[in-house]
């Protein structure tokens, strides 16, 4: 597999707690890779180190063969490399409407003209079925709508890599499913590479090309979702059984693909 996003020896500790202890991970272009693991094991820390929201103690992150620095990890970076990040709690600006939230990275970090920004944001709102709620503020939107606005904001700059930090937290099963469906759908439409942190096992495997199991600061399993049962180590099997992996999928689920 040709790695589009290559992570080597990534380390991060907080005091005596070595949360990341040498992460190696290869993510293929336009794929969806899901990071699973116990709560508090460092999945979000890994995403934040990749996005440089946290400074890693050691290690490198390469995109398309080039080491990326802080200045190149934002949306529409100077050298055309772009990362987007969808936060667990959406991180929407309360005082901005849905339209303004999605337009924010275009208004502030690009030199696009207002007419072009409006055109792109209107198109995104239409894709997300949010056109009727464009002028509503985050406080007036439902949980699912907020997720869609956050997704729209993450995708509006046409990023190459999108990092999703537990995008389905706090949603009911049906809405979780629709968020996953949305990610898969937009991945196909926009062609970005997705790195996803999720606890929703096995639902998230439906859209995942690869799964990485993070435990004790390292990636202990990396492979296709259907290889999990045959390849998984004992500890992983324990983790999966606790996460109800292997149960019969719901009828809604079966029709997902």
């Amino acid at each position: 597999m040709d790695a589009f996003l290559k992570i080597r020896g990534l380390k991060k500790h907080f005091g005596e707690n070595h949360v990341l202890d040498g992460i190696d991970l290869d993510v293929a272009a336009a794929s969806v890779t899901t990071i699973i693991g116990k709560s508090g094991i460092g999945k979000s820390v890994l995403l934040k180190c990749i996005a440089n929201l946290l400074q890693a103690d050691a290690g490198t992150v390469e995109l398309d063969g080039k080491a990326i620095s802080r200045s190149r990890r934002g949306a529409n970076g100077a050298e055309g490399v772009s990362f987007s990040y969808m936060f667990q709690n959406n991180a929407l600006f309360d005082s901005l409407s849905a339209f303004e939230n999605i337009a924010l990275p275009l208004r502030e970090a690009t030199k696009l003209k207002n007419a072009e920004i409006k055109e792109r944001v209107d198109a995104m709102l239409a894709h997300l079925e949010l056109s009727d709620s464009a002028e509503r503020f985050p406080g007036e939107l439902s949980g699912g709508m907020k997720k869609r606005v956050a997704l729209g904001r993450a995708l509006i700059t046409k990023p190459q890599v999108v990092l999703f930090d537990e995008p389905t937290t706090g949603l009911d099963p049906e809405r979780k499913f629709s968020v996953f469906e949305m990610i898969a759908d937009y991945r196909e439409r926009f062609g970005f590479t997705a790195l996803l942190v999720s606890h929703d096992i096995p639902e998230v495997f439906e859209i995942s090309d690869r799964v990485a199991w993070l435990d004790q600061g390292i990636i202990k399993f990396f492979g296709k979702p259907d290889e999990l049962n045959s390849d998984a180590q004992l500890a992983l099997s324990g983790f999966l059984s606790k996460a109800n992996y292997g149960r019969e999928p719901s009828p809604k689920h079966e029709g997902a693909k």
């Binding site: 934040k48 996005a51 949306a75 987007s84 990040y85 936060f87 709690n89 991180a91 929407l92 208004r107």
Partner: protein, 258 residues
């Protein structure tokens, strides 16, 4: 004991350095922003327009009380005709800049610290970074620039209303001749007094808004508690430290100006 004092002193110096770098980063970031005028206008509304009613009210009552207190002090020496001089100089030189700064800290500074603290906790500041938007320039820069415009204007408003308050007590209630009162005001106040007041207003403005913004922005690092308690602590400390800093700076500037 000495070691503890030394450590505290070093801590204060370190924090002052951090606040200076923070403010410098915010000012530099502001000039790299798109739509600076719109952001500046919003910040002027937040700091200037919203604070106007409280400044006007406090200015009026300060003037009224000053008129009363100074009249009964001056009348003992048969010098009640100097009421205009006393009220105008105390307000323009000291009370105007200091009370304006304290009122803005209470009204806009605490709100700013809380807002930035909530934005930090809610990961909105991290979100800006991932969007390649400089959070300092976007969130703090306009407020810092608005301070430079609003503080001198608010101080001038406080001064004018305060002097008018002194006139209401002195002339309308206590029968000091109106002509004498205003004549003394115009005669005694020099450009140097006004200039000194404005220098104080600018320094207080920069200090208070920098401290409030710094406290809120760094809630995750500076507060002892996470979450809502952390935000509340940041806002409280922002107000306390800003107020103490204003008074300390007032003493320093006054000793240089006199």
């Amino acid at each position: 004991m000495i070691r503890m004092l030394g450590r505290s002193a070093l801590g204060v110096v370190f924090e002052l350095g951090e606040i200076s770098l923070f403010s410098f980063g915010a000012a530099r970031g502001f000039f790299a922003q798109r739509g600076r005028l719109a952001k500046l206008t919003l910040a002027i509304h937040e700091i200037g327009v919203r604070c106007f009613p409280i400044i006007a009210t406090v200015g009026l009552f300060t003037g009224l009380v000053m008129g009363l207190q100074l009249y009964y002090t001056l009348v003992k020496f048969g010098a009640e005709s100097a009421l205009g001089t006393a009220v105008a100089l105390s307000i323009i030189r000291e009370l105007g800049p200091v009370l304006t700064a304290l009122m803005v800290v209470g009204q806009a500074g605490s709100a700013m610290a809380s807002e930035l603290g909530i934005q930090r906790n809610d990961e909105q500041i991290d979100a800006l970074e991932t969007m390649n938007i400089d959070p300092l320039g976007y969130l703090v820069g306009p407020r810092l620039m608005a301070t430079l415009i609003c503080f001198p204007i608010l101080t001038a408003i406080f001064d004018l209303i305060g002097i008018f308050g002194g006139f209401v007590t002195g002339s309308l209630l206590l029968n000091v001749d109106a002509g004498v009162y205003w004549n003394r005001v115009f005669e005694s106040v020099t450009w140097a007094d006004v200039q000194g007041g404005y220098i104080k207003a600018l320094v207080f403005g920069l200090l208070t808004i920098s401290i409030c913004a710094y406290r809120g922005y760094n809630t995750h690092r500076k507060a002892s508690f996470p979450g809502v308690r952390g935000v509340s602590e940041s806002a409280t400390r922002a107000v306390v430290w800003s107020s103490v800093t204003v008074l300390a700076a007032d003493y320093l500037i006054t000793s240089f100006l006199l």
